[in-house]
């Protein structure tokens, strides 16, 4: 669909040209010449490019509102910019919808796929269900590079530094001590020729705090900024007053059409936020857009080719309709998402009928009667992780993985990245399911190197139906140099979330959908077939205390230890260089001789 503003743009340019010609005839020669020069230099280029590219990029935006079983509400924004151009060729100089900063980055550093997520809070899968997109607490970055990139580590370092600048995040702290190369967990989500995992880099910064300063640059990448469309709802004072906030950027190459002969680039900006209304909203679970964002939707982004709001109104139990949404939706969409049959009320912001009745759209949801929370659905796959043990010498990382599927077993890939200062002992790794040892069918372990590389443990574990698998591994806490501790050393050290990737068998059969037509929230992860769906889960990050030296006494320690060494040196030096002598009566020191001289004068016998 042609963006509506293409025509006015062209028109404006024509008018300007005409104006310049008139100015030249009229007078004010200098100004006119200058304008002419400018136009000659800049005018034709974009003009030519426009003609070809107008129809080649498109923006789709959508908002998914889903009430969570606990009474919280999750809002997931997705903005997808798709561009039918080959960024890698380097011939692209004119950017329209696709942000130039990211486009140049992809071209310059040979990025094939880029996934960056900045998250505050933790998605509680057990209570909130499977998220459309989960991210670990803190910052997560994983990138596939092109096979043409020779020095991947250098490109990775450069990339993380540039992204750090673009998103005002501390991504520049990504270095070899927190970067790993997973072999199985992270496959390319877009088009990929080979999956040589040496082109992949993955890093998590669990300590990263996400705030407004990260949201503003993220919003600036949107074609309409936060001026129009769904993005008007993104107000920092509301978004960060929530129990979970996750913003992400995904760049990947995709097939241009079904035949997949040419490549397009896709930029997805997603933002998920969970509002806790149950505790902050006087025990009521009712919500509206205004209550959540203190804004309503008034107009659409003129650049967007699609702009929709989905509200999850799927009934929990078949017979009772528990909730009602107002205003009435433009349509109802039914789909099988993550193994569940879901019903969505759809508001198409581009349909003229929507803004006809009222000037703004404030979606509201009311529960008809209070819901009993006992019948909370439990997701098929969820996990939990904690640190066991006491004291500051050793400890144990325990991960519990639940498969609640009644009759299907499925495998899960567990990725564990542990910083080097927790020294993992892989021989203590135990995996126990239903009281029996569960042997992983694939295991990749890369031990840490002090101050250089973290531990990486990847395992493929078969989860039997209706089971809990307990994975434990022991570690030893290292004593670091005093300069290696953060300013608040007794706060503890974070260990990034472990990543679970699985193809979860679905209870309900899914239909093959056309990716371009289906809602965005269903289409990031490729679905293999109708019987299972892909899930990536992140467990809790861990906070581990390490023994600390006394930070106030480097000088004392240096002095005292050196004294001990000097005691050894001194006594050995004495014994080695001197020999035993019989103590002879000496002629006395200077004082004695002086005294004797005086005594001589006095006529007293000498001492």
């Amino acid at each position: 669909m042609a963006p509506p503003e293409a025509a006015p743009l062209a028109g404006r340019r024509k008018r300007k040209r005409r104006g310049a010609a008139r100015g030249g005839a009229g007078g004010g020669m200098a100004a006119a010449l200058l304008l002419l020069l400018l136009l000659l230099a800049a005018g034709p280029g974009p003009g030519r490019a426009d003609a070809g590219q107008e129809r080649r990029d498109a923006l789709r935006e959508e908002l998914l509102l889903s009430p969570l079983p606990t009474g919280d509400v999750a809002a997931t924004f997705q903005f997808r910019t798709r561009w039918d151009a080959d960024l890698q060729r380097g011939s692209v100089s004119h950017y329209r919808l696709f942000p130039k900063a990211l486009g140049r980055l992809v071209a310059a550093l040979g990025v094939r796929e880029l996934h960056l997520a900045l998250t505050q809070g933790f998605w509680r899968t057990r209570y909130w269900g499977q998220p459309p997109l989960q991210a670990p607490a803190g910052a997560e970055l994983w990138v596939w590079f092109q096979p043409t990139v020779t020095d991947v580590d250098k490109a990775w370092k450069e990339l993380s530094n540039i992204l750090s600048g673009i998103f005002c995040a501390s991504l520049n702290f990504i270095d070899s001590t927190n970067t790993v190369i997973p072999t199985a967990s992270f496959k390319p989500l877009g088009l990929a020729n080979g999956t040589d995992h040496h082109l992949l880099r993955y890093a998590v910064l669990p300590r990263e705090v996400v705030c407004t300063e990260n949201l503003t640059p993220w919003k600036k990448l949107l074609p309409c900024g936060s001026k129009a469309g769904l993005a008007v709802l993104l107000k920092a004072e509301r978004l960060f007053h929530s129990s979970y906030h996750s913003q992400a950027v995904h760049i990947r190459p995709i097939c241009r059409d079904a035949s997949c002969l040419a490549m397009s680039w896709e930029l997805r900006q997603t933002l998920t936020v969970v509002f806790d209304f149950f505790s902050s909203g006087q025990g009521k679970k009712d919500w509206s857009l205004f209550k959540m964002f203190s804004r309503t939707l008034t107009d659409t982004c003129p650049l967007a080719s699609q702009s929709k709001v989905y509200v999850d109104i799927s009934p929990k139990t078949k017979e009772k309709e528990l909730l009602e949404v107002s205003p009435p939706p433009t349509s109802v969409h039914e789909a099988v998402v993550q193994g569940d049959k879901k019903t969505y009320a759809v508001y198409d912001l581009l349909s003229p009928s929507l803004f006809n009745t009222s000037r703004s759209l404030n979606v509201q949801l009311k529960w008809k009667r209070p819901q009993d929370s006992s019948e909370m659905p439990i997701p098929t796959l969820h996990a939990q992780r904690y640190v066991a043990g006491y004291g500051l010498q050793t400890g144990e990382i325990c991960t519990l993985i639940y498969n609640t599927h009644p009759y299907r077993a499925f495998p899960v890939i567990l990725l564990e990245t542990v910083p080097w200062y927790l020294r993992l002992y892989v021989h203590t790794l135990t995996i126990i399911t239903k009281g029996k040892e569960n042997k992983p069918s694939y295991i990749h372990y890369q031990p840490a190197q002090d101050r250089r590389r973290p531990h990486l443990l990847e395992m493929l574990i078969q989860l039997p139906a209706n089971s809990v698998t307990k994975i434990t591994i022991q570690f030893e806490r290292a004593l670091l140099k005093w300069t290696e501790y953060p300013p608040d050393p007794n706060h503890g050290f974070y260990v990034g979330s472990s990543v679970l990737s699985a193809l979860v068998p679905s209870v309900t059969a899914m239909k093959d959908m056309d990716v371009e037509q289906s809602p965005l929230f269903t289409s990031l992860f490729p679905s293999s077939d109708g019987s299972s769906y892909f899930v990536r889960l992140y467990t809790e990050p861990l906070l581990v205390n390490l023994p600390t030296p006394d930070f106030s006494m480097p000088y004392n320690v240096i002095c005292l230890t050196c004294t001990v060494v000097a005691v050894c040196y001194g006594s050995f030096y004495n014994l080695l260089t001197r020999t035993f002598h019989v103590e002879e009566p000496s002629r006395g020191g200077l004082a004695k001789r002086l005294a004797n001289v005086i005594r001589k004068f006095r006529g007293v016998p000498p001492l």
Binding site: R423, H455, L479, P549, V557, I558, L575, T577, F580, E583
Partner: protein, 435 residues
């Protein structure tokens, strides 16, 4: 003589076997005083597990044993407890035989010197009698086998026991006069933990003395023998290192074992001086101080060789003590080795100045280590300085103990040549002073 030794061995094996079966074994194995990053059994098991996973054990920062140790335990992992008990017994027997032989040498030398009238006339009470010397080898074995430090080291399955065993065999070979075996065992000991390199000097001195080669820089036979011994040592070292290379087909073990020993990256607390010092060190001085601290082990060797060239065994003892004080990851097992030699110098007892205080210091520190560790790591009511203070005191105690023995040794030598009852020029009782 063999019967008491068998008894001692039986007692030692019983104690170890009982401790292996008790719940104390786990507690002892976790103690940082007993197991350092270099020789902890947990890390040996980890190395073997990594090998099983197809990962090079040296690709991580956990495993720092030599390739020969991996291959030894690759086959003997099931019998580890037995291996460590046998190692301890072998060490004790080697020390027993070595000291037995050494005593004979001492006795002969004493006899020769008396016959040559080299001793002062009134030193009869300083002369070691065969009666006194009879039980020394047994006492050495006893001191080694039943020393709580050795017992704990064995129960924790610290590979320090293996290093000690190699050093004991090296001493035995040296005393027996076999230059070849001595060089081979010295190369093995160097290969295992690097620092025994310094024992080259006392071994060479002892062998020269045994061959009646005068230690003179101008003498040709001295240089010939030295070159011979050096080349034997270097050849065996090269052979062992190449063998390790062929076992794993990579040189990774060199930085992972020797680099780890020399650059001290792991600051896990132990009884040594390095850990807290480098935890608190300013980053840009770190390299300088690593050099300064490492040089301590090697630094005293040449002056000691000059001063003690007539007494290579005492030199060996002092050098062993210096290694165990100044090595980067010391454990109580290292201390046990040089403490086993204390009965050999029991005739110095009358000249020791503060043996009572020093033994008290060492014993009390040994008890305070676990107490202060508990307060720091588990109770949280103390901090790292408490444990550090104890390591300092313990090391001061060791240093003073060794210098006291050194002092006593030199003093006895002086009395032997100058007579026990020294008089001044004016005939009064004289004091002996170091000048």
């Amino acid at each position: 003589m063999a019967a008491p030794l068998v008894l001692v061995v039986l007692a030692a094996v019983t104690v170890r076997a009982a401790l292996y079966r008790s719940s104390l074994a786990v507690f002892i194995a976790e103690r940082v005083e007993v197991a350092s990053p270099l020789n902890a059994w947990k890390r040996v098991v980890e190395g073997l597990a990594l090998l099983d996973l197809g990962v090079s054990p040296y690709s991580g920062a956990i495993f720092h044993e030599t390739p020969l140790i991996i291959y030894l335990f690759h086959f003997l992992i099931e019998y580890a407890e037995l291996v460590f008990m046998i190692t301890d017994v072998l060490t004790a027997v080697a020390l027993y035989l070595a000291i037995q032989d050494f005593n004979k040498v001492v006795f002969k030398k004493q006899k020769l010197l008396i016959e040559l009238d080299k001793y002062a006339p009134d030193v009869a009470e300083l002369i070691q009698t065969p009666m006194e010397m009879h039980y020394i080898p047994l006492k050495v074995a006893l001191f080694y086998l039943l020393n709580p430090y050795t017992v704990m080291s064995c129960v924790a399955k610290s590979t320090c026991a293996i290093n000690n065993s190699v050093i004991a065999f090296f001493i035995l070979a040296t005393i027996k006069g076999s230059a070849f075996l001595s060089a081979v065992f010295l190369a093995l000991a160097t290969y295992q933990s690097l620092y025994p390199l310094t024992l080259f000097a006392p071994a060479l001195l002892y062998l020269l003395q045994r061959q009646f080669i005068p230690i003179k820089l101008k003498s040709k036979s001295f240089w010939l023998y030295t070159m011979q011994y050096t080349s034997l040592y270097l050849c065996s070292l090269v052979v062992i290192i190449c063998l390790s290379f062929f076992l794993l087909n990579s040189w990774d073990f060199i930085p992972s074992v020797y680099g780890f020993i020399l650059s001290v990256p792991d600051l896990t607390p132990n009884i040594g001086l390095f850990w807290y010092f480098f935890a608190e060190m300013f980053e840009h001085f770190s390299l300088f101080f690593v050099c300064v601290f490492q040089i301590n082990v090697f630094f005293y060797t040449i002056p000691l060789a000059i001063k003690l060239k007539e007494h290579p065994m005492f030199f060996m003892f002092v050098q062993l003590a210096i290694i165990s004080i100044f090595k980067s990851y010391p454990t109580v097992g290292d201390i046990a080795l040089y403490m086993a030699f204390l009965p050999v110098w029991s005739h110095l007892y009358r000249f020791l100045r503060n043996i009572f205080i020093l033994s008290c210091v060492l014993i009390f520190c040994s008890f305070l280590f676990p107490v202060l560790w508990h307060l720091w790591i588990y109770a949280g009511s103390a901090n790292s300085n408490f444990y550090y203070a104890i390591t300092l005191t313990f090391n001061i105690g060791q240093i003073l103990l060794i210098s006291d023995y050194f002092y006593a040794f030199l003093r006895r030598e002086y009395y032997l040549t100058h007579g026990l009852h020294l008089t001044r020029q004016d005939g009064t009782e004289a004091m002996l002073v170091l000048k």
